[in-house]
Symmetry: C2
Subunit: 244 residues, 2 copies
Protein backbone atom coordinates (compact mmCIF):
# COMPACT_ATOMS: atom_id res chain seq x y z
CA UNK A 1 0.00 0.00 0.00
CA UNK A 2 1.24 3.47 -0.81
CA UNK A 3 1.20 5.86 2.11
CA UNK A 4 0.19 9.46 1.85
CA UNK A 5 2.74 11.09 4.13
CA UNK A 6 0.36 13.93 4.97
CA UNK A 7 -2.09 11.36 6.25
CA UNK A 8 0.55 9.52 8.18
CA UNK A 9 1.89 12.49 10.09
CA UNK A 10 -1.58 13.58 11.14
CA UNK A 11 -2.46 10.36 12.98
CA UNK A 12 -2.13 10.74 16.75
CA UNK A 13 -3.72 7.53 17.98
CA UNK A 14 -4.50 4.02 16.78
CA UNK A 15 -7.47 2.15 18.20
CA UNK A 16 -8.00 -1.54 17.59
CA UNK A 17 -10.81 -3.95 17.15
CA UNK A 18 -9.82 -6.84 19.40
CA UNK A 19 -11.83 -10.04 18.77
CA UNK A 20 -10.37 -11.41 15.54
CA UNK A 21 -8.04 -8.46 14.93
CA UNK A 22 -5.71 -8.64 17.95
CA UNK A 23 -6.72 -11.95 19.53
CA UNK A 24 -7.78 -15.34 18.14
CA UNK A 25 -11.17 -15.76 19.84
CA UNK A 26 -12.18 -18.99 18.05
CA UNK A 27 -9.21 -21.13 19.12
CA UNK A 28 -9.25 -19.60 22.57
CA UNK A 29 -12.91 -20.17 23.29
CA UNK A 30 -12.66 -23.71 21.90
CA UNK A 31 -9.67 -24.45 24.14
CA UNK A 32 -11.35 -22.99 27.22
CA UNK A 33 -14.62 -24.85 26.50
CA UNK A 34 -12.92 -28.21 25.96
CA UNK A 35 -12.94 -29.49 29.58
CA UNK A 36 -16.54 -28.32 30.00
CA UNK A 37 -17.64 -30.09 26.83
CA UNK A 38 -15.76 -33.26 27.84
CA UNK A 39 -18.03 -33.39 30.89
CA UNK A 40 -21.32 -32.29 29.35
CA UNK A 41 -21.26 -32.99 25.61
CA UNK A 42 -18.27 -35.13 24.66
CA UNK A 43 -19.38 -35.53 21.03
CA UNK A 44 -19.65 -31.80 20.39
CA UNK A 45 -16.73 -30.20 18.50
CA UNK A 46 -15.30 -27.35 20.56
CA UNK A 47 -14.79 -25.10 17.50
CA UNK A 48 -18.40 -25.64 16.45
CA UNK A 49 -19.40 -24.69 19.98
CA UNK A 50 -17.27 -21.51 19.78
CA UNK A 51 -18.84 -20.63 16.42
CA UNK A 52 -22.35 -21.17 17.75
CA UNK A 53 -21.65 -18.96 20.78
CA UNK A 54 -20.17 -16.25 18.59
CA UNK A 55 -23.16 -16.31 16.22
CA UNK A 56 -25.28 -14.90 19.05
CA UNK A 57 -22.89 -11.95 19.49
CA UNK A 58 -24.14 -9.53 16.87
CA UNK A 59 -27.90 -10.15 17.37
CA UNK A 60 -27.50 -9.59 21.13
CA UNK A 61 -25.72 -6.27 20.58
CA UNK A 62 -28.31 -5.27 18.00
CA UNK A 63 -30.89 -5.11 20.79
CA UNK A 64 -28.79 -2.37 22.39
CA UNK A 65 -27.85 -0.64 19.12
CA UNK A 66 -31.51 -0.46 18.08
CA UNK A 67 -32.48 1.16 21.38
CA UNK A 68 -34.76 -1.74 22.36
CA UNK A 69 -32.51 -2.42 25.34
CA UNK A 70 -30.39 -0.19 27.58
CA UNK A 71 -26.61 -0.70 27.39
CA UNK A 72 -25.35 -3.72 29.29
CA UNK A 73 -21.76 -4.83 29.11
CA UNK A 74 -20.60 -7.65 26.86
CA UNK A 75 -19.90 -10.03 29.77
CA UNK A 76 -23.65 -9.96 30.44
CA UNK A 77 -24.56 -10.57 26.79
CA UNK A 78 -21.97 -13.36 26.51
CA UNK A 79 -23.51 -15.12 29.48
CA UNK A 80 -27.06 -14.82 28.16
CA UNK A 81 -25.87 -16.10 24.80
CA UNK A 82 -24.10 -19.00 26.47
CA UNK A 83 -27.30 -20.06 28.23
CA UNK A 84 -29.12 -19.99 24.86
CA UNK A 85 -26.43 -22.02 23.13
CA UNK A 86 -26.27 -24.63 25.90
CA UNK A 87 -30.05 -25.12 25.59
CA UNK A 88 -29.79 -25.42 21.83
CA UNK A 89 -27.19 -28.19 22.16
CA UNK A 90 -29.36 -29.91 24.77
CA UNK A 91 -26.82 -29.34 27.55
CA UNK A 92 -28.93 -29.10 30.71
CA UNK A 93 -28.57 -28.97 34.48
CA UNK A 94 -25.27 -27.10 34.47
CA UNK A 95 -24.59 -25.45 37.85
CA UNK A 96 -24.54 -21.64 37.70
CA UNK A 97 -20.92 -21.32 38.88
CA UNK A 98 -19.85 -23.57 36.02
CA UNK A 99 -21.64 -21.29 33.55
CA UNK A 100 -19.99 -18.24 35.16
CA UNK A 101 -16.62 -19.91 34.83
CA UNK A 102 -17.11 -20.88 31.18
CA UNK A 103 -18.19 -17.31 30.42
CA UNK A 104 -14.66 -16.24 31.39
CA UNK A 105 -13.34 -18.08 28.31
CA UNK A 106 -13.45 -14.72 26.51
CA UNK A 107 -11.10 -13.25 29.15
CA UNK A 108 -8.41 -15.80 28.26
CA UNK A 109 -7.80 -15.38 24.56
CA UNK A 110 -4.36 -15.52 22.99
CA UNK A 111 -3.09 -12.71 20.77
CA UNK A 112 -2.16 -13.40 17.14
CA UNK A 113 1.62 -13.99 17.04
CA UNK A 114 2.49 -10.51 15.71
CA UNK A 115 0.26 -8.52 18.08
CA UNK A 116 2.28 -7.90 21.25
CA UNK A 117 5.56 -6.91 19.59
CA UNK A 118 3.92 -4.81 16.91
CA UNK A 119 1.81 -2.97 19.48
CA UNK A 120 4.99 -2.14 21.41
CA UNK A 121 6.46 -0.61 18.25
CA UNK A 122 3.32 1.45 17.62
CA UNK A 123 3.10 2.52 21.27
CA UNK A 124 6.48 4.23 21.06
CA UNK A 125 5.04 6.75 18.59
CA UNK A 126 1.27 6.76 19.05
CA UNK A 127 -1.43 6.39 21.67
CA UNK A 128 -2.78 2.84 21.33
CA UNK A 129 -6.00 1.48 22.82
CA UNK A 130 -8.58 -1.18 22.14
CA UNK A 131 -11.84 0.00 20.56
CA UNK A 132 -13.71 -3.20 21.17
CA UNK A 133 -17.27 -4.11 21.98
CA UNK A 134 -15.78 -6.01 24.91
CA UNK A 135 -16.19 -4.38 28.30
CA UNK A 136 -13.36 -2.83 30.29
CA UNK A 137 -12.69 -5.74 32.65
CA UNK A 138 -12.74 -8.20 29.74
CA UNK A 139 -10.16 -6.09 27.89
CA UNK A 140 -8.02 -5.71 31.03
CA UNK A 141 -7.96 -9.46 31.65
CA UNK A 142 -7.00 -10.26 28.06
CA UNK A 143 -4.30 -7.59 28.10
CA UNK A 144 -2.75 -8.63 31.42
CA UNK A 145 -2.67 -12.31 30.43
CA UNK A 146 -1.32 -11.65 26.94
CA UNK A 147 0.90 -8.65 27.68
CA UNK A 148 -0.90 -6.24 25.35
CA UNK A 149 0.66 -2.84 26.17
CA UNK A 150 -2.40 -0.58 25.81
CA UNK A 151 -2.20 3.07 26.90
CA UNK A 152 -5.88 3.03 27.89
CA UNK A 153 -8.95 0.85 27.58
CA UNK A 154 -11.43 2.59 25.30
CA UNK A 155 -14.44 1.15 23.49
CA UNK A 156 -18.07 0.22 24.03
CA UNK A 157 -18.25 0.50 27.81
CA UNK A 158 -16.61 3.93 27.96
CA UNK A 159 -19.20 5.37 25.57
CA UNK A 160 -22.02 2.95 26.52
CA UNK A 161 -22.82 1.95 22.96
CA UNK A 162 -21.81 -0.83 20.58
CA UNK A 163 -19.94 -0.66 17.29
CA UNK A 164 -20.77 -0.02 14.54
CA UNK A 165 -22.91 2.77 16.04
CA UNK A 166 -21.25 5.96 14.75
CA UNK A 167 -20.94 7.57 18.16
CA UNK A 168 -18.57 4.83 19.37
CA UNK A 169 -15.97 6.11 16.92
CA UNK A 170 -16.71 9.82 17.15
CA UNK A 171 -16.90 9.95 20.96
CA UNK A 172 -13.65 8.04 21.20
CA UNK A 173 -11.92 10.75 19.15
CA UNK A 174 -13.57 13.36 21.37
CA UNK A 175 -12.31 11.60 24.53
CA UNK A 176 -8.80 11.53 23.06
CA UNK A 177 -9.06 15.25 22.35
CA UNK A 178 -8.33 14.79 18.65
CA UNK A 179 -10.14 15.19 15.35
CA UNK A 180 -11.61 12.02 13.78
CA UNK A 181 -8.99 12.22 11.00
CA UNK A 182 -6.23 12.06 13.63
CA UNK A 183 -7.57 8.70 14.82
CA UNK A 184 -7.09 5.43 12.93
CA UNK A 185 -9.13 2.28 13.51
CA UNK A 186 -7.31 -1.00 12.92
CA UNK A 187 -9.64 -3.91 12.21
CA UNK A 188 -9.88 -7.22 10.38
CA UNK A 189 -13.50 -6.46 9.48
CA UNK A 190 -14.55 -4.32 6.54
CA UNK A 191 -17.87 -3.32 8.12
CA UNK A 192 -16.15 -1.93 11.23
CA UNK A 193 -13.80 0.14 9.06
CA UNK A 194 -16.67 1.37 6.88
CA UNK A 195 -18.51 2.68 9.95
CA UNK A 196 -15.34 4.38 11.21
CA UNK A 197 -14.65 5.96 7.83
CA UNK A 198 -18.22 7.31 7.67
CA UNK A 199 -17.50 9.53 10.70
CA UNK A 200 -14.09 10.60 9.41
CA UNK A 201 -11.62 8.21 11.04
CA UNK A 202 -8.60 6.83 9.22
CA UNK A 203 -8.72 3.10 8.57
CA UNK A 204 -6.28 0.17 8.58
CA UNK A 205 -7.33 -3.29 7.43
CA UNK A 206 -5.35 -6.26 8.69
CA UNK A 207 -6.13 -9.58 7.03
CA UNK A 208 -6.84 -12.37 9.54
CA UNK A 209 -7.68 -15.24 7.20
CA UNK A 210 -8.22 -17.87 9.90
CA UNK A 211 -10.27 -15.89 12.43
CA UNK A 212 -13.23 -18.13 11.54
CA UNK A 213 -11.12 -21.23 11.02
CA UNK A 214 -9.62 -22.88 7.94
CA UNK A 215 -12.71 -22.42 5.74
CA UNK A 216 -13.20 -18.70 6.30
CA UNK A 217 -14.94 -16.88 3.45
CA UNK A 218 -15.46 -13.36 4.88
CA UNK A 219 -13.03 -10.44 5.17
CA UNK A 220 -10.32 -12.17 3.16
CA UNK A 221 -9.68 -8.92 1.32
CA UNK A 222 -10.24 -5.19 1.61
CA UNK A 223 -13.63 -4.09 0.27
CA UNK A 224 -12.57 -0.45 0.00
CA UNK A 225 -9.32 1.47 -0.46
CA UNK A 226 -8.57 1.70 3.26
CA UNK A 227 -5.72 4.02 4.31
CA UNK A 228 -3.61 0.98 5.18
CA UNK A 229 -4.04 -2.63 4.07
CA UNK A 230 -1.62 -5.02 5.76
CA UNK A 231 -1.01 -8.72 6.40
CA UNK A 232 -0.16 -8.20 10.07
CA UNK A 233 0.46 -5.46 12.60
CA UNK A 234 4.24 -5.47 12.06
CA UNK A 235 3.61 -4.46 8.47
CA UNK A 236 1.50 -1.55 9.74
CA UNK A 237 4.23 -0.48 12.19
CA UNK A 238 6.85 -0.68 9.45
CA UNK A 239 4.75 1.37 7.01
CA UNK A 240 4.46 4.02 9.73
CA UNK A 241 8.21 4.09 10.21
CA UNK A 242 8.14 2.65 13.75
CA UNK A 243 11.46 1.23 14.91
CA UNK A 244 11.75 -2.55 15.36
CA UNK B 1 0.66 -1.10 59.91
CA UNK B 2 -0.52 -4.57 60.74
CA UNK B 3 -2.13 -6.35 57.84
CA UNK B 4 -5.21 -8.47 58.15
CA UNK B 5 -4.41 -11.30 55.78
CA UNK B 6 -8.08 -11.94 55.06
CA UNK B 7 -8.36 -8.35 53.88
CA UNK B 8 -5.23 -8.62 51.83
CA UNK B 9 -6.23 -11.71 49.89
CA UNK B 10 -9.62 -10.27 49.01
CA UNK B 11 -8.27 -7.22 47.19
CA UNK B 12 -8.38 -7.66 43.40
CA UNK B 13 -7.57 -4.16 42.20
CA UNK B 14 -5.87 -0.99 43.38
CA UNK B 15 -6.99 2.37 42.04
CA UNK B 16 -5.01 5.55 42.63
CA UNK B 17 -5.61 9.18 43.13
CA UNK B 18 -3.06 10.79 40.80
CA UNK B 19 -2.52 14.54 41.48
CA UNK B 20 -0.44 14.60 44.64
CA UNK B 21 -0.52 10.84 45.21
CA UNK B 22 1.28 9.53 42.11
CA UNK B 23 2.59 12.73 40.54
CA UNK B 24 4.00 15.98 41.91
CA UNK B 25 1.62 18.50 40.32
CA UNK B 26 2.98 21.60 42.09
CA UNK B 27 6.59 21.36 40.91
CA UNK B 28 5.47 20.23 37.47
CA UNK B 29 3.01 23.04 36.87
CA UNK B 30 5.52 25.58 38.22
CA UNK B 31 8.22 24.25 35.88
CA UNK B 32 5.89 24.25 32.86
CA UNK B 33 4.60 27.76 33.66
CA UNK B 34 8.08 29.24 34.11
CA UNK B 35 8.78 30.26 30.48
CA UNK B 36 5.27 31.70 30.18
CA UNK B 37 5.66 33.73 33.37
CA UNK B 38 9.08 34.97 32.25
CA UNK B 39 7.34 36.56 29.28
CA UNK B 40 4.15 37.82 30.92
CA UNK B 41 4.77 38.28 34.67
CA UNK B 42 8.47 37.96 35.49
CA UNK B 43 7.97 38.94 39.15
CA UNK B 44 5.40 36.25 39.85
CA UNK B 45 6.66 33.15 41.66
CA UNK B 46 5.87 30.04 39.59
CA UNK B 47 4.91 27.97 42.65
CA UNK B 48 2.51 30.68 43.80
CA UNK B 49 1.03 30.62 40.32
CA UNK B 50 0.63 26.82 40.49
CA UNK B 51 -1.04 27.11 43.91
CA UNK B 52 -3.43 29.80 42.68
CA UNK B 53 -4.39 27.70 39.64
CA UNK B 54 -4.92 24.63 41.84
CA UNK B 55 -7.11 26.58 44.28
CA UNK B 56 -9.72 26.89 41.53
CA UNK B 57 -9.79 23.10 41.05
CA UNK B 58 -12.23 22.02 43.73
CA UNK B 59 -14.75 24.91 43.34
CA UNK B 60 -14.89 24.26 39.58
CA UNK B 61 -15.64 20.55 40.09
CA UNK B 62 -18.20 21.42 42.76
CA UNK B 63 -20.34 23.01 40.05
CA UNK B 64 -20.57 19.57 38.42
CA UNK B 65 -20.85 17.60 41.68
CA UNK B 66 -23.74 19.79 42.83
CA UNK B 67 -25.61 19.22 39.57
CA UNK B 68 -25.53 22.91 38.64
CA UNK B 69 -23.47 22.03 35.59
CA UNK B 70 -23.34 18.97 33.30
CA UNK B 71 -20.11 16.93 33.37
CA UNK B 72 -17.26 18.47 31.42
CA UNK B 73 -13.77 17.01 31.48
CA UNK B 74 -11.03 18.42 33.66
CA UNK B 75 -9.04 19.82 30.71
CA UNK B 76 -11.98 22.18 30.15
CA UNK B 77 -12.18 23.19 33.82
CA UNK B 78 -8.40 23.66 34.01
CA UNK B 79 -8.53 26.03 31.04
CA UNK B 80 -11.41 28.07 32.47
CA UNK B 81 -9.58 28.24 35.80
CA UNK B 82 -6.41 29.36 34.04
CA UNK B 83 -8.22 32.25 32.37
CA UNK B 84 -9.56 33.32 35.78
CA UNK B 85 -6.15 33.14 37.41
CA UNK B 86 -4.45 35.06 34.61
CA UNK B 87 -7.02 37.86 35.03
CA UNK B 88 -6.51 37.88 38.78
CA UNK B 89 -2.75 38.34 38.33
CA UNK B 90 -3.38 41.09 35.77
CA UNK B 91 -1.90 39.04 32.92
CA UNK B 92 -3.77 40.27 29.84
CA UNK B 93 -3.69 39.96 26.06
CA UNK B 94 -2.36 36.42 26.00
CA UNK B 95 -2.99 34.75 22.61
CA UNK B 96 -5.40 31.80 22.81
CA UNK B 97 -2.86 29.24 21.52
CA UNK B 98 -0.51 30.25 24.32
CA UNK B 99 -3.27 29.61 26.88
CA UNK B 100 -4.00 26.24 25.26
CA UNK B 101 -0.33 25.34 25.45
CA UNK B 102 0.02 26.37 29.11
CA UNK B 103 -3.08 24.33 29.94
CA UNK B 104 -1.09 21.24 28.87
CA UNK B 105 1.20 21.77 31.89
CA UNK B 106 -1.00 19.25 33.71
CA UNK B 107 -0.21 16.63 31.03
CA UNK B 108 3.52 16.85 31.80
CA UNK B 109 3.83 16.11 35.50
CA UNK B 110 6.58 13.98 36.96
CA UNK B 111 5.82 10.99 39.18
CA UNK B 112 7.08 10.87 42.76
CA UNK B 113 10.39 8.91 42.76
CA UNK B 114 8.85 5.67 44.09
CA UNK B 115 5.79 5.59 41.81
CA UNK B 116 6.85 3.85 38.59
CA UNK B 117 8.78 0.97 40.16
CA UNK B 118 6.24 0.37 42.91
CA UNK B 119 3.37 0.36 40.43
CA UNK B 120 5.20 -2.31 38.40
CA UNK B 121 5.45 -4.45 41.53
CA UNK B 122 1.75 -4.02 42.29
CA UNK B 123 0.78 -4.67 38.65
CA UNK B 124 2.28 -8.16 38.78
CA UNK B 125 -0.38 -9.20 41.31
CA UNK B 126 -3.29 -6.77 40.97
CA UNK B 127 -5.19 -4.72 38.44
CA UNK B 128 -3.95 -1.14 38.76
CA UNK B 129 -5.57 1.99 37.37
CA UNK B 130 -5.82 5.69 38.09
CA UNK B 131 -9.03 6.85 39.77
CA UNK B 132 -8.43 10.52 39.19
CA UNK B 133 -10.59 13.50 38.48
CA UNK B 134 -8.32 14.03 35.49
CA UNK B 135 -9.79 13.08 32.12
CA UNK B 136 -8.65 10.10 30.07
CA UNK B 137 -6.35 11.93 27.65
CA UNK B 138 -4.73 13.82 30.55
CA UNK B 139 -4.05 10.53 32.34
CA UNK B 140 -2.74 8.90 29.14
CA UNK B 141 -0.32 11.75 28.48
CA UNK B 142 1.03 11.71 32.03
CA UNK B 143 1.39 7.91 31.94
CA UNK B 144 3.15 7.77 28.55
CA UNK B 145 5.60 10.52 29.51
CA UNK B 146 6.33 9.11 32.97
CA UNK B 147 6.08 5.39 32.19
CA UNK B 148 3.23 4.67 34.60
CA UNK B 149 2.21 1.08 33.76
CA UNK B 150 -1.58 1.29 34.23
CA UNK B 151 -3.80 -1.63 33.19
CA UNK B 152 -6.63 0.78 32.29
CA UNK B 153 -7.56 4.43 32.68
CA UNK B 154 -10.52 4.66 35.04
CA UNK B 155 -11.83 7.68 36.93
CA UNK B 156 -14.05 10.71 36.50
CA UNK B 157 -14.47 10.68 32.72
CA UNK B 158 -15.43 6.99 32.56
CA UNK B 159 -18.28 7.51 35.03
CA UNK B 160 -18.89 11.20 34.14
CA UNK B 161 -18.77 12.43 37.73
CA UNK B 162 -16.15 13.90 40.04
CA UNK B 163 -14.72 12.54 43.29
CA UNK B 164 -15.68 12.54 46.07
CA UNK B 165 -19.16 11.79 44.66
CA UNK B 166 -19.90 8.26 45.92
CA UNK B 167 -20.79 6.85 42.52
CA UNK B 168 -17.26 7.45 41.21
CA UNK B 169 -16.00 4.77 43.60
CA UNK B 170 -18.97 2.40 43.44
CA UNK B 171 -19.30 2.47 39.64
CA UNK B 172 -15.59 1.84 39.28
CA UNK B 173 -15.95 -1.36 41.31
CA UNK B 174 -18.94 -2.29 39.16
CA UNK B 175 -16.95 -1.70 35.95
CA UNK B 176 -14.17 -3.91 37.31
CA UNK B 177 -16.74 -6.61 38.06
CA UNK B 178 -15.76 -6.77 41.74
CA UNK B 179 -17.31 -5.95 45.09
CA UNK B 180 -16.37 -2.60 46.69
CA UNK B 181 -14.41 -4.46 49.39
CA UNK B 182 -12.26 -6.08 46.66
CA UNK B 183 -11.17 -2.62 45.49
CA UNK B 184 -8.65 -0.44 47.32
CA UNK B 185 -8.22 3.29 46.77
CA UNK B 186 -4.70 4.64 47.26
CA UNK B 187 -4.59 8.35 48.01
CA UNK B 188 -2.59 11.03 49.82
CA UNK B 189 -5.82 12.75 50.85
CA UNK B 190 -7.92 11.75 53.84
CA UNK B 191 -11.16 13.13 52.38
CA UNK B 192 -10.82 11.00 49.23
CA UNK B 193 -10.27 7.88 51.35
CA UNK B 194 -13.21 8.75 53.63
CA UNK B 195 -15.54 8.96 50.63
CA UNK B 196 -14.25 5.63 49.28
CA UNK B 197 -14.64 3.93 52.66
CA UNK B 198 -18.23 5.19 52.93
CA UNK B 199 -19.20 3.07 49.91
CA UNK B 200 -17.22 0.04 51.10
CA UNK B 201 -13.85 0.32 49.39
CA UNK B 202 -10.60 -0.60 51.11
CA UNK B 203 -8.27 2.35 51.71
CA UNK B 204 -4.54 3.03 51.58
CA UNK B 205 -3.07 6.34 52.74
CA UNK B 206 0.31 7.36 51.40
CA UNK B 207 1.89 10.39 53.03
CA UNK B 208 3.06 13.00 50.52
CA UNK B 209 4.34 15.73 52.86
CA UNK B 210 5.53 18.11 50.13
CA UNK B 211 2.62 17.95 47.70
CA UNK B 212 1.82 21.55 48.66
CA UNK B 213 5.44 22.59 49.07
CA UNK B 214 7.73 22.84 52.08
CA UNK B 215 5.16 24.45 54.39
CA UNK B 216 2.36 21.91 53.89
CA UNK B 217 -0.05 21.58 56.81
CA UNK B 218 -2.76 19.26 55.44
CA UNK B 219 -2.78 15.45 55.09
CA UNK B 220 0.47 15.02 57.02
CA UNK B 221 -1.07 12.10 58.87
CA UNK B 222 -3.89 9.59 58.64
CA UNK B 223 -7.18 10.90 60.09
CA UNK B 224 -8.69 7.42 60.35
CA UNK B 225 -7.42 3.88 60.73
CA UNK B 226 -7.11 3.25 57.00
CA UNK B 227 -6.43 -0.34 55.89
CA UNK B 228 -2.89 0.64 54.93
CA UNK B 229 -0.86 3.66 56.00
CA UNK B 230 2.48 3.98 54.22
CA UNK B 231 5.28 6.42 53.52
CA UNK B 232 5.50 5.51 49.85
CA UNK B 233 4.13 3.06 47.31
CA UNK B 234 7.06 0.63 47.74
CA UNK B 235 6.03 0.22 51.36
CA UNK B 236 2.51 -0.65 50.19
CA UNK B 237 3.84 -3.20 47.67
CA UNK B 238 6.07 -4.75 50.32
CA UNK B 239 3.21 -5.00 52.84
CA UNK B 240 1.20 -6.81 50.16
CA UNK B 241 4.04 -9.25 49.55
CA UNK B 242 4.77 -8.08 46.02
CA UNK B 243 8.20 -9.11 44.73
CA UNK B 244 10.86 -6.43 44.26
Amino acid sequence: MGIDSIHQTAIKAFVFDVFGTVVDWRSGVAREAQPFLQRHAPNLDASDFADAWRREYSPAMEEVRSGRRAYVRLDVLHRENLVKVLARFGIANVPEPEIDELNLAWHRLDPWPDAVDALRRLKARFIIAPLSNGNIRLMVDIAKRAGLPWDAILGAEVVRAYKPSPLVYSETAEILGIAPRELCLVAAHNNDLAAARRVGLRTAFVVRPTEHGPRQTSDLKADEAWDFIVDDLHELATQLGCAR
